[in-house]
Amino acid sequence: MHAALMMLVDGRFPAGGHTNSAGVEAAVRVGDIRDEPSLRRYLTGRLATTGIVDAAFSAHTAGLAPPFDEQLIALGLEYSARVPSPNLRDVSTRFGRQMLRAGAQVWSSPLLDAVASGQPGVHQPLILGAIAQAAGGTPNDAALLSLHHLAAAVTSAAIRLLGLDPMSVAAMQAEMSEQIDACANDADLWAGACPADLPANSGSLTEILAEDHGRWDARLFVA
């Protein structure tokens, strides 16, 4: 770990992460998250499904070598195919655009240039991978960053929406750290894999709730 990469760990990095609840706002509304035990179950589920997928695409992108353009297009299509909810696909490109706007002002690299000058609508996990690479990160760093962003989004949104004790939630997140680390174990494998062979785990409720959330007329979080 080094200072540049630590900026990407920090929730204060201005990429709009604070507006993402990673599905928590919708899950709270239907009663799936009510307290700490149910929050823990939710996070466990997200890590094993969308968490692994996002981490894999970030790790793969962080390991890319030129030429980039066709690889980025293939990765984008593969990622889209793993996100059934049109709303979540839109949200992913929106967070990607926000992260690219911040990241491209801070770092530069051939991959980041290729992402910025290529087709618009790049998914957030790909942008995170490209920025992690530009900041000197490995595929494993990119995967861990992705998983940490998920855990941080889930826990901080639950603290804000339910008024949970932040220290107790931090302790819970720390207890889950081995589990989170383990999710990134395959990062090097993912970096070398063909995009079509990257994980395709999913949870149908995640997608259904996200579609519903996108139709609310009063939201506090983007997703």
């Binding site: 204060r12 990095f13 201005p14 990429a15 709009g16 992460g17 604070h18 507006t19 993402n20 609840s21 929106r94 655009r97 926000q98 992260m99 706007r101 911040a102 949104a157 804000r160 929406l161 609310w216 007329d217 009063a218 939201r219 506090l220 979080f221 983007v222």
Partner: protein, 226 residues
């Protein structure tokens, strides 16, 4: 480097004298902040009505609930739907205008790009506390709104919004007599906090109540384009 060797130029604040929009941008971005219920949405609605015939105007709103302010503006039909975008702030309205402006900047750039000819982009913050202020990365100038019913000691308390905003608006002066607020004292205290920067007293019962604010904005646009 010994202090006497530091070039004097380093201490001259060039930026504060330069008033131009970056990258050839045409739209002046104006932030409108202030506490809950002070009249931000009403002010934005009045400004749109007063300025829409002479300027191309777009609005980004940040109410805590995504679409409430946007709906209020759409229902009063002050602008076509496609000129208003609501942004979610993740329960933190001040973060969205100050520390992490990504969501707002995305909405602002999206609107300006889509309409091409935008002269004025209004960014209305969600209702917040007195320490909220807009990032210079998001807006060019900012207006902070207070109301007489929120207590006439608020200008004296100060805070970044009151002291640093380019324009301070003290709204609902028509209500002052009913809530026991001293408007003259508010204007006086605000003047002391603001180092000579302008303060306007308004009552937005009708759209004309915002005409001084509208005039201030057109003066700013002229200054940035000069």
């Amino acid at each position: 480097m010994p202090p006497h060797d530091i070039p004097h130029d380093d201490f001259i604040d060039h930026a504060s004298h330069e008033r131009s929009l970056p990258n050839g941008r045409q739209a002046l971005r104006v932030g409108i902040g202030g506490p809950v219920g002070c009249g931000k949405t009403t002010l934005v609605g009045s400004l749109c009505s007063l300025l829409r015939d002479e300027l191309s105007v777009v609005v980004v709103t940040n109410d805590i609930f995504t679409s409430e302010d946007a709906d209020a503006l759409r229902e009063s039909a002050v602008l076509p739907d496609d000129r208003i975008v609501a942004v979610e702030t993740g329960c933190c309205p001040h973060t969205a205008i100050r520390d992490d402006i990504a969501a707002n900047l995305d909405a602002v750039e999206g609107l300006e790009e889509r309409h091409g000819d935008v002269d004025l982009t209004l960014v209305e913050s969600g209702g917040d506390n007195l320490t909220a202020i807009f990032s210079r990365g998001l807006v060019d100038v900012q207006i902070f709104v207070l109301d007489t019913a929120g207590g006439d000691d608020v200008p004296r308390k100060g805070g970044p919004g009151v002291s640093m905003a380019d324009l301070l608006v003290i709204n609902k002066v028509d209500l002052a007599q009913y809530v026991g607020s001293d408007v003259e004292a508010m204007l006086h205290d605000a003047g002391e906090r603001r180092d000579g920067r302008p303060v306007l007293a308004t009552s937005l019962v009708d759209q004309q109540g915002a005409s001084d604010v509208a005039e201030w904005i057109t003066t700013q646009i002229a200054a940035y384009r000069a």
